[in-house]
């Protein structure tokens, strides 16, 4: 059942990602990114990271993508549907990206059997995932947590200032 879920979600994620990058209509691209993010959330759930599953949906899909969709609706020009959507460097870029992917693929393929994780690594599901995350977050990672909240405050102020009509 585990592998069935994994293959289903990964097929959905890859298909949505490919569709997202190739659509002419930006709103369709956004919708396919939403499905890719939901598939990623499914992968998190399949990895038994339940808190990250809900956080991904609430923040990424329910927050960031809503922001994207709003901005797309505000800047969407009908004209752009008829212009070129890929830039002049598309062949070189694709070849470069393929080279990068090929390198990483070779690296992963050669070492695929050497990741021998001990009994602790064999699918040890945290019994209380949310509690463990909360404890680690507020004990070991308190400083990054505070820095992240300041980062969010700065980003909020920055976004409001950037998007105002008259400063």
């Amino acid at each position: 059942m585990d592998s069935v879920l994994f293959y289903f979600f990964s097929a959905l994620a890859i298909a949505s990602a490919v569709l997202m990058v190739t659509r002419r209509n930006i709103v369709h691209s956004a919708v396919f990114l939403i499905t890719a993010l939901l598939a990623t959330a499914g992968i998190f759930l399949q990895l038994q990271a339940e808190f990250l599953f809900v956080v991904q949906i609430i923040l990424y899909v329910g927050g960031i993508m809503v922001l994207f969709v709003f901005v797309i609706m505000l800047v969407n020009l009908d004209l752009s549907l008829h212009l070129m959507q890929f830039n002049r460097m598309k062949f070189v870029s694709t070849i470069l990206a393929a080279v990068l992917a090929g390198q990483l693929f070779t690296a992963f393929w050669i070492t695929r059997n050497s990741l021998n994780l001990g009994p602790r690594g064999e699918a040890m599901a945290q019994p209380h995932n949310t509690e463990s995350i909360a404890q680690a977050l507020f004990q070991n990672y308190m400083l990054p947590f505070e820095i992240a909240s300041i980062l969010l405050l700065v980003a909020m102020i920055g976004a409001v200032v950037m998007a105002k009509r008259k400063v």
């Binding site: 990250l52 992963f108 920055g158």
Partner: protein
């Protein structure tokens, strides 16, 4: 039998390379930003997979911070795009060339 970890690495690699292709080849700046989000998600999958296979929760915390970062960056990036669009009526990267000679 649980899924071996290299499956997650290959999935993460596939999403990462699709995101890279999206950033490098599309003209529309918003689609570039969306491809960057895809890249960040690929990294998240990698982190969470390793977190589960080591049995610790550190990878998931790192993933939470990445999601937070992505939110901040998307907000500011979209604000910049809106401001630029108001001035120049375009969202295509080719046409944002005012600082070229």
């Amino acid at each position: 039998m649980p899924v071996a970890i290299d499956h997650y690495l290959f999935l993460s690699l596939a999403l990462f390379s699709i995101g890279v292709v999206g950033v490098l080849t599309r003209r529309n700046v918003i689609v570039m930003l969306m491809s960057i989000e895809l890249i960040l998600n690929a990294v998240n999958i990698n982190l969470v997979a390793f977190s589960r296979y080591w049995g610790t929760v550190d990878g998931q915390i790192f993933a939470i911070f990445i999601i937070t970062d992505a939110a901040a960056e998307a907000a500011v990036g979209l604000g910049i795009i809106l401001a630029f669009f108001r001035n120049r009526e375009t969202v295509l990267a080719d046409e944002m060339d005012m600082m070229r000679w």
